[in-house]
């Protein structure tokens, strides 16, 4: 049995992203190239494209975008590097995180020194009902009948409210916090501050979620550059190290899940990532987690161990997860306010944590204590995959 670990072997030395939102002026390749350029430009000592040895391309809905069915070649051509070995990763909403995980594994294997990961997505190329919603129709014709993104996450919120007394207002507080943070992020899609009343007054989408409980549909791209940890000083004095990463799957259909108040895959992925990094939830300074819906954030607090099971609603209400709280969650604005261009989402979470751990986040900079951060990305059509990563500014 392998005792393999990525800890301290891989560093993030560059990270960049586009604004998330409606990019009617740019296609999949243009967005990918913009994020790629931003990531190259962020490398403190500079990097030549020729130094990139391998690429990973995270993209989920590419075939909706009017281009050829995306593949690794789509990215290689978009960034002017035909010939580069590139794989496309399509693994549900955590595709971006999985692409980084695979890039890190390929670097840690010793085969490659430097890798580039780009996540790019175009959701606004088609009307809402034909893009993300349409995806509910690609699953099992009966067991996934009429499912949408909301029906994949709402039943858990309903059950959580029933079992633990989580309130409608507590759900809304997640969206209020996200909007407040996004107001400080010029890359975010929804930058207007909102109130609990605004959330409750917005139209009902799927019980218990109103429009403002749901992340928007976004175009956007994000990119990171990873290298062997010992090579990091070649590029920067302030690398961020990948301390641990865990990916887990779980029982797929609702009727197969062990509980409807959380996701076993997140608990398992967190256990793997924390174990690899040698940390506990109490060691974490800041978290970027997958808040596709407000209820998902509250439940994920518990799955990541940020609070006791059933206490997620009270945690957000206490202010502990606000920018100045005990454990700030989603300083970027999260999926709810920064946006959710699916394949780019996990990569953009890395961009935010790279910025936070380098203390370059400006007005939304969180206070660092241990210099450790957690990233979380969950999904798949019935929520069957979760990825959790631990990042650290120290190589310990």
């Amino acid at each position: 049995m392998s005792a393999g670990s990525l800890r301290n072997q891989v560093a993030v030395v560059g990270a960049g992203m586009t604004v998330f939102g409606e990019h009617f002026d740019a296609g999949l390749e243009q967005l990918a190239a913009r994020a790629y350029r931003a990531a190259l430009a962020s490398v403190d000592r500079g990097i030549d494209p020729g130094e990139l040895q391998v690429g990973f391309f995270a993209n989920v809905m590419g075939s909706l975008a009017g281009n050829e069915i995306p593949s690794g070649a789509t990215l290689a051509n978009a960034i002017g590097l035909p010939g580069l070995p590139v794989s496309r990763v399509e693994n549900g909403c955590p595709s971006g995180s999985d692409a980084i995980r695979l890039a890190a594994l390929s670097v840690a294997s010793g085969v490659y020194d430097v890798a580039v990961v780009v996540g790019s997505e175009k959701l606004r190329e088609l009307p809402t009902k034909q893009s993300l919603l349409e995806s509910g129709r690609v699953g099992h014709p009966i067991l996934s009948y009429a499912n949408t993104a909301a029906t994949i996450f709402a039943p858990q919120a309903v059950r959580h409210m029933h079992e633990f007394g989580t309130t409608r207002e507590q759900l809304a507080m997640v969206a209020v916090k996200a909007a407040a943070n996004a107001a400080l992020n010029d890359k975010a899609q929804r930058r207007t501050p909102i109130t609990v009343d605004d959330v409750l007054a917005s139209p009902l989408v799927c019980t218990p979620f109103h429009v403002l409980d749901c992340c928007p549909q976004s175009d956007g791209a994000a990119a990171v550059i990873l290298c062997r940890a010992d090579l990091a000083p070649r590029y920067t004095d302030k690398p961020v190290y990948l301390s641990g990463v865990g990916l887990a799957t779980e029982a797929l259909y609702y009727h197969e899940k062990t509980r409807l108040t959380g996701w076993d895959a997140t608990v398992l992925a967190a256990k793997r990532a924390y174990g690899m990094a040698g940390v506990t939830a109490g060691d974490i300074d800041v978290v970027e987690l997958h808040d596709c819906f407000t209820g998902t954030e509250i439940i994920t607090y518990e799955d990541l161990g940020l609070c006791e099971v059933g206490q997620g609603g009270k945690l957000v209400e206490s202010g502990a997860t606000a920018l100045d709280g005990r454990i700030p969650v989603n300083p970027s604005g999260g999926l709810l306010a920064k946006g959710h261009p699916i394949g780019a989402t996990g990569v953009a979470q890395y961009v935010e944590l790279f910025t936070q751990l380098r203390e370059e986040a400006g007005d939304r900079q969180v206070r660092l204590r241990t210099g450790k951060a957690v990233q979380h990305n969950v999904g798949g059509y019935s929520v069957g995959i979760s990825v959790v990563s631990v990042l650290s500014r120290e190589r310990d």
């Binding site: 014709p141 009948y145 009429a146 039943p155 799927c206």
Partner: protein
């Protein structure tokens, strides 16, 4: 031939949807938007005790446009009857149900079949003809009390009724003249018999019943009506007769009812108001004609899971779970999943993909066998759903997009047994 050797109706199932339409005088039962002749037939047939004894299936449908579809095949799969079970479909007019009963009786009398399951299913028209389905098990040589069909007599003439000319103009007949025609046919059909019929049903039934002094009138239930009238007459033992009318034919059926034989009494007070779901036919990820639906027929139509032979773990759907997650076993036996349970969690979705309508409730049920099932609801009003509510799974139509309809389970109210 002794009474026991004569073919008889030994078991029955009846389903009348709880929804109603029309004014006080012409109140009819109507199907929900996701019910059709097939789902009504399944509802009735699965109530028939011992239906697995059937070695022939006869299906009577009101309208011929459904006859070419895979209804018998779907019905067999939904009831768990062998795919090779022989059968036939009857259609044409409201007397097709009686024709099926006659054929069933003949098949048993001739020794061609030991037990025949016959189903007559009427989707109704929402205005004049009530929706209903009735299923009978006909067999001989059984000591079980039965309704024995003794004799039929009839009279017929040119069909008098509405017609559409070559310019698509609809011509309506004169109601009083129609009644006159039907009463005349009824007198001729009844001419050889003393006394009065016990039940009358079909076209102009009230006038016929008045003229002949009949015991009861069953409002028009289309192709299911004459068979339902027989069961209603069977509420009392002894010689019982029924008269069933269309606009061109009247048939009198004479039976002998043994004490304790199958019978039926309508529930006049049952009224759930107008239907809940509208008819809709969204496109699915796979067309109904896809081999997927043939492969998954057991899973979808009769809710069949698979039990691991090694550890007893139940997987669903079996076609997608070939290896046991409990013990990694590969060998399974089919197992019927529980169809009753309670709401574990649910959502009301107001933002659906194109073609799925304005809103839809989806329920995760905690089933009585410990399993769970996720499905849309049928016949449950918005606001009538809460965690813990008792629910039941019933076969409903999901779409008719692209030809043959697709059926699977939906959650309904679980009726408390009377």
């Amino acid at each position: 031939m002794t009474a026991e050797q004569r073919p008889g109706i030994v078991a029955r199932g009846v389903y009348v949807p709880p929804f109603r339409a029309g004014d006080g005088r012409h109140r009819v039962s109507v199907r929900n938007g996701d019910e059709d002749a097939l789902t009504l037939a399944v509802e009735a047939a699965q109530q028939v005790p011992g239906l697995d004894q059937a070695d022939e299936l006869l299906l009577a449908l009101a309208r011929p446009d459904l006859v070419d579809g895979p209804q018998p095949r779907t019905l067999r799969a939904a009831l768990g009857l062998p795919a090779a079970l022989p059968g036939a479909t009857f259609a044409g007019d409201a007397l097709a149900g009686l024709s099926a009963l006659t054929a069933a009786t003949d098949a048993v009398a001739a020794g061609r079949a030991r037990a025949v399951l016959m189903v007559a299913s009427e989707p109704g028209d929402g205005a004049r003809v009530s929706a209903a389905a009735v299923a009978l098990l006909v067999t001989a040589g059984s000591p079980v009390p039965a309704v024995r069909v003794l004799d039929e007599s009839g009279a017929g003439d040119v069909v008098y009724g509405n017609w559409v000319d070559t310019t698509q103009v609809r011509h309506a007949g004169d109601q009083r003249h129609l009644e006159h025609v039907v009463v005349d046919l009824a007198r001729r059909a009844w001419a050889e018999h003393p006394g009065a019929p016990d039940e009358v049903t079909g076209v102009a039934a009230a006038v016929v019943a008045r003229t002949l002094g009949a015991g009861g009138v069953l409002p028009d239930h289309g192709v299911a009506g004459p068979v339902l009238a027989l069961l209603r007459a069977a509420a009392a033992p002894g010689p019982r007769s029924v008269l069933a009318a269309t606009a061109g034919q009247v048939v009198a059926v004479h039976t002998h009812v043994e004490p304790g034989a199958p019978c039926w009494a309508p529930e006049p007070d049952r009224d759930a108001g107008p239907p809940i779901e509208a008819e809709s036919s969204p496109p699915l990820s796979l067309p109904t004609s896809s081999p997927f639906f043939q492969r998954a027929a057991g899973e979808l139509l009769r809710l069949e899971g698979a039990r691991c032979r090694a550890c007893g773990h139940v997987v669903f759907p079996p076609s997608q779970r070939p290896v046991c997650p409990g013990c990694h076993g590969y060998d399974f036996d089919p197992v019927a999943l529980s169809r009753t349970g309670a709401v574990h969690t649910f959502v009301l979705n107001r933002f659906l993909p194109e073609g799925f309508g304005e809103q839809m409730a989806l329920v995760l049920g905690e089933m009585d066998d410990g399993g769970r099932y996720w499905a849309p609801t049928s016949g449950i009003r918005t606001g009538e759903l809460a965690i813990g509510d008792p629910v039941a799974l019933r076969l409903r139509r999901f779409t008719a997009h692209g030809g043959a309809p697709t059926y699977a389970m939906k959650f309904t109210h679980r009726e408390v047994p009377a």
